[in-house]
Amino acid sequence: MANLIVRRLLQLIPLLLGISFIVFISLHLAPGDPASMIGGPTATKEDLASIREDLGLNDSLFTQYLRYIGGVLQGDLGYSYQTQQSVTEAIMIRFPNTFNLSVASIIVATVIGVGAGIISAIKQNTSLDVLSTVGALAGISIPNFWLGSMLILLFAVYWQWFPVAGITSPPWTMQGIKELALPAITLGTGSAALIARMTRSAVLEVIRQDYIRTARAKGVREKNVILLHCMRNAMIPVITVIGLNFGFLLGGTIITEQVFAINGVGRLLIQAIAARDYTMVQGAVLLIATLFVLVNLLVDILYALVDPRIRYE
């Protein structure tokens, strides 16, 4: 297990180098540069020239990349071109919000998805099954901004059960839970649909296995057959989907963050791209990639916990 962790973390290094290189190149290929965005539409040639000089954009690409990577290797993600603030700090302000939102949405998605998946599997080919399929598909096909705005309109403006937007309190307080509720539902429905479909097929697969018959032959109660014997096995593929989704959520969910005015990584990233804030984009992407790898690692570790056949030596 320790071996696995070390290996993954080692693999992270070339991955991050690769990503930072690609991001660097593509940002520089994209039209516009940080100076032009800092100067804005009013900037004259002189203005732009002095900003470029100030930011060191007149050096060769190679020098710029080396300078950046040199800093990163020393643990310094650099300073934002646009706001001149520490990239690490900027990310650390946003990350907790994104993290809380991701956890909340994945909880919503898992509860709804796994529940609906089990029901539609054990009631296979009944109207309940069809209903849950249709519901799942509806969940995927509703755009997040639409659902989000509707939820705000109904639950925050009309009934005023939840606050409209923003995160002000820690997630373990009542107020914090209320603040996370609507965005988490908005994000959760999409993932719930996938999880439901995955759970359904996994349960159907497992329920046909010989050991389920064995459990029944032992006289195990049907409820336990499903929840204990069946789910423990069916969870294995489901965990992958949940993990993958969680990885994506951690990368920031621009639209939901925007609709619910959540100060998250997704918005940071998109603002940074819009501002051609090279260092900030790099920093955010490196964080997202790292998280993605870590979540995958977590999934692998969970695998081993759920499925004893998997052993990482």
Binding site: A30, M37, A43
Partner: protein, 489 residues
């Protein structure tokens, strides 16, 4: 409870005012920023030597007491006494000199350095008198000094700290806390020289989605929003909790031509387009929150003369068709470039429809703003829909950057180079005589409207929405406001 205490709970002096902006504040130094979200905050924290009267648009002293021009190249400015920065150091001529010198220093790389470029030297005559010298007379000097970016900063604070993060000015509110991307909190400046404001705290919340901001306004969690789009108005009109104010403003939106290549080189083509544009219809489609004017310099900008309306091309589809034929445009199509921000895509669609009526097929190419800016600077387009906010409300500051040949390759995206116009624009800049300036600006305006490197589409309204209990908010035609006199009832 999930809603904050009712906004009118506290008595005066105990109130928190919340403003929602769609964009995050980039930074809090007037020297190092050039975006409107930052400017709104800077306007509460810092002050300028001069300000524009929101009603009359006249420029009057603020931190300055008075000024005189011993000669057209010299501005002697007398400062108010007894004003302190938030950090306790006194406001004086040294501070002004420091601020302007820092602003103009190329090493500072101030994004709006061009604003004070005409200044040659800043001298401290006595602790409360500064002398600003220019090489050539500079007409829009006062307008420039009234611009947010010309706010005076505390030299001590700037030298030791980072104004971007911890601003120190003389304004009615001082910095308290800033969570980047989320919320900026200001608190009242107890020692404000011009009378203590009634609000205790001011919050700038970032709410990127306008419809969410409106919801917040309706629930009373936010008191002011000013980035409304016309489409939002119908919703707000039905709300009994919200006041919407509209007011003619300085920003102009235009349809520009590439004057160096493509069909835009042909003046017949440009006139044809001008005839094909129906401003009334555009304004109507924008729910009336814009005003039609044929002038490039619009009604709220210094240099406007109502005469200009007669000089413009009237809406005449038939003429447009003829001229298109004359320009040899049958069967050809043009591309209109625009940015995916503000009303531009919407106007592009409307313009496309109007051109189609006159027989010209136009394709729209909306670009992400950075790419748009890049191509605009390079003049890489056929036609463009763009805008200029006129934040100094001075015609010279519109025509010089946008349509003067000096700025081709930068702000003059249409690459307009009309020697006659250049001359008038230069004159408007190099005289300090107000009447003379008005005259030459009007002439330049007329000339440009005739030559039509731009076809003005509309001049925007400034739209603000507040909760009903907000009182004393005065909004300037450039969209600027201060909360000094605001209270919640």
């Amino acid at each position: 409870g999930c809603t904050p205490p009712p906004p009118n709970a506290g008595s005066a002096g105990n109130q928190t005012f919340v403003y929602a902006s769609t964009a995050d504040v980039v930074g809090l130094s007037p020297i190092k920023t050039n975006d409107s979200a930052s400017a709104r905050a800077i306007d509460q924290i810092y002050e300028t030597l001069f300000v524009r009267d929101p009603e009359t648009m006249d420029i009057k002293p603020k931190l300055a007491r008075s000024y005189e021009n011993p000669d057209p190249n010299t501005w002697v400015i007398h400062l108010r006494k007894g004003i302190q920065f938030h950090d306790g150091i006194p406001f004086n001529a040294e501070a002004v000199k420091y601020t302007f010198d820092k602003f103009r220093d190329p090493k500072t790389a101030a994004p709006r350095a061009s604003l004070l470029k005409p200044i040659d030297k800043v001298e401290v005559k006595d602790p409360y008198t500064v002398v600003i010298r220019t090489k050539k007379p500079y007409g829009p000097m006062l307008a420039a000094l009234a611009h947010s970016n010309a706010s005076i900063v505390s030299p001590i604070a700037d030298k030791k700290g980072d104004l971007m993060k911890k601003p120190v000015g003389t304004g009615p509110f001082k910095f308290k806390k800033w969570v980047q991307g989320d919320k900026l909190t200001l608190e009242v400046n107890e020692n404000y020289w011009d009378g203590k404001p009634q609000l205790k705290e001011v919050e700038f919340r970032v709410v990127p989605e306008v419809s969410t901001a409106i919801s917040l306004l309706e629930t009373g969690e936010v008191h002011l929003i000013d980035t409304l789009r016309p489409e939002n108005l119908d919703r707000l009109k039905n709300s009994n909790k919200v006041n919407v104010k509209t007011k003619e403003g300085t920003p102009v939106t235009y349809l520009g031509f590439n004057m160096k290549k493509g069909p835009g080189k042909d003046s017949d083509f440009r006139r044809a387009v001008a005839h094909a544009i129906n401003q009334e219809e555009l304004v109507d489609a924008l729910k009336g929150v814009a005003h039609p004017s044929k002038g490039i310099i619009g009604p709220k900008v210094f240099g406007y003369n109502p005469e200009i309306e007669k000089a413009g091309y009237d809406y005449d589809v038939k003429k447009a068709k003829d001229l298109f034929n004359k320009a040899g445009m049958d069967g050809k199509s043009v591309t209109i470039m625009t940015a995916n921000t503000k009303n531009y895509p919407k106007l592009a669609e409307l313009v496309q429809g109007q051109l189609a009526k006159a027989g010209l097929k136009a394709d729209i190419q909306t670009l992400e703003f950075g790419a748009y800016l890049d191509r605009n600077r390079k003049g890489d387009f056929e036609m463009v829909i763009g805008g200029w906010t006129n934040s100094t409300a001075d015609g010279s500051e519109l025509l010089y950057p946008q349509l003067h040949s000096d700025n081709i390759g930068a702000t003059n995206g249409t690459q307009t180079s009309i020697p006659e116009a250049d001359k008038r624009i230069n004159q408007s800049r190099t005289t300090t005589d107000k009447e003379k300036r008005l005259k030459v600006l009007h002439e330049a305006n007329k000339l440009l409207v005739k030559e039509a490197p731009w076809v003005p589409l509309c001049h925007d309204f400034i739209v603000t929405a507040t909760t009903k209990n907000v009182q004393g908010l005065e909004v300037d035609a450039t969209g600027q406001w201060t909360l000094k006199n605001v209270s919640l009832k």
